[in-house]
Symmetry: C2
Subunit: 274 residues, 2 copies
């Protein structure tokens, strides 16, 4: 089943726009897991089984696995195998290279790791993005306006074609005619979310930056959702994973994810009746 | 020893600005290696031992290893361990993420894989690049103007601060005050190489795009070298690795690398006497 179909079914069945980011930080894992064979995978698998009925997607962050070397790759495979097939997986990799090499990154994501979607940095342009578009069941989430302060350095530059991030959004709409894609827009830029939504009314948005980065979930819904009040994957990582550092970490993760889900649903209800 | 010091010593000792890109394509490996335990690593290790006295660096391309899954990671580790310590290694990864995650990518490159330098996509701005700058013995090669046709889509945009790629070059000069960095400028843009060199007279340039992509090595030297006729890593991948598909592949790779080295040295001699 395609990413988009899995995503639609998961949001409908669970009334959820919550995406949980899987960023395993060895220094923040609960102490009692330190004796297990693979604490990273043990930790994340417990988080997944505690949350998988209330999220619309998971987003493993490759950086945190890659930093752990070959063992991290094995943990990532192990974690991916524990995610129920009905829940789509977005590999957060921010992949980018010339066509010849970008094709290999698409193979890594879709064939070697078997994920449903992947984040892609669009800076290198059409031929660098095209190999990801060839996976008609996948989805390439293109960095548009990222949640960090440094996004102002380049992504907000005025160009002959409007602000840089708006040109990315327009290019994504153009590219989406050849294959499935979406946009990454940080929750910390709520106003710009509505501009990007006007440019790309039909694309799914992956929205990081609520939780630890303090983006406002209510504003994400008001400014970012599509005409059906959907089209969003609102990502929280640290605020869910590390809600508790004790033995109750999985239950605490569930509470944090559920409270974000409820907050988003309340805002959706308010927006649709407004 | 730092990347920059290793690079300087290698270029001086070997009179070479040649960087060989390690992009293992399983479909192009010599047939007689197919029975070996790890054909990718067997192939690249033979190429390395045939060329390591005449290159200034190697550039493994993560995409080609990642596409092979966990086995690819092991091949990469195996290949890295076969590169003599005197020859610096640039991991071509085009890493990018917000600070918190970018730190993990720097750990992956410098700690887990133990390379000397890494390519970085600067689109996410200062805080995304900063974690790489903290490795004072490393070097972050920032994408400035890539060799592919799609580079025109975003990297050549006119901004309030000049063409986008020139702003990247200026930012790199600013960032280089906090830590070592360089720029990636494709050989296919020879004229722009001289503009970038004017903006960043002291930074090392990684220049892909000679060989299979048809960039002109002579123009790279004329337009891209620093005041000492150096400051370049001129990369060739496919034209060296796949110079022969037979049992003589390593010797053929050596000939291709040596012929590029000689061509670059001839041009350096001509430029310095001009």
């Amino acid at each position: 089943m395609s990413f988009l179909e899995k995503y639609r079914r998961a949001t409908d069945a669970r009334n959820s726009l919550v995406c949980v980011g899987l960023d395993p930080d060895p220094e923040r894992l609960p102490a009692h897991l330190s004796g297990t064979h693979d604490p990273v995978s043990a930790f994340l698998k417990d988080v997944i089984s505690a949350t998988c009925d209330l999220v619309c997607a998971y987003k493993p962050n490759f950086a945190f696995f890659g930093a752990l070397g070959a063992a991290g790759w094995r943990s990532l495979e192990d974690v991916l195998s524990a995610i129920p097939d009905a829940t789509p997986v977005v590999l957060d990799f921010k992949a980018n290279d010339i066509g010849n090499s970008a094709r290999r990154y698409a193979q890594m994501a879709y064939d070697a790791l078997g994920v449903d979607a992947v984040t892609v940095n669009p800076l290198m342009g059409t031929d660098a993005v095209a190999p990801f578009m060839e996976y008609q069941d996948g989805c390439a989430f293109l960095l548009c306006l990222t949640s960090n302060p440094g996004s102002a350095d380049f992504q907000r530059l005025s160009t002959q074609d409007g602000p840089f991030y708006q040109r990315v959004a327009r290019k994504a709409v153009e590219w989406s005619r050849t294959g499935p894609c979406g946009l990454v827009v940080g929750a910390t830029h709520a106003r710009e979310l509505s501009t990007v939504r006007r440019i790309a009314p039909g694309l799914p948005f992956l929205v990081p930056g609520v939780g630890a980065q303090m983006g406002d979930p209510g504003r994400v819904i008001r400014y970012g959702s599509d005409r059906n009040g959907k089209g969003l994957l609102v990502n929280a990582s640290r605020s869910v994973l590390y809600a508790s550092s004790g033995r109750d970490f999985a239950r605490a993760a569930r509470c944090a994810a559920e409270s974000l889900r409820v907050e988003l649903e309340r805002e959706r209800a308010a927006s649709s009746s407004a």
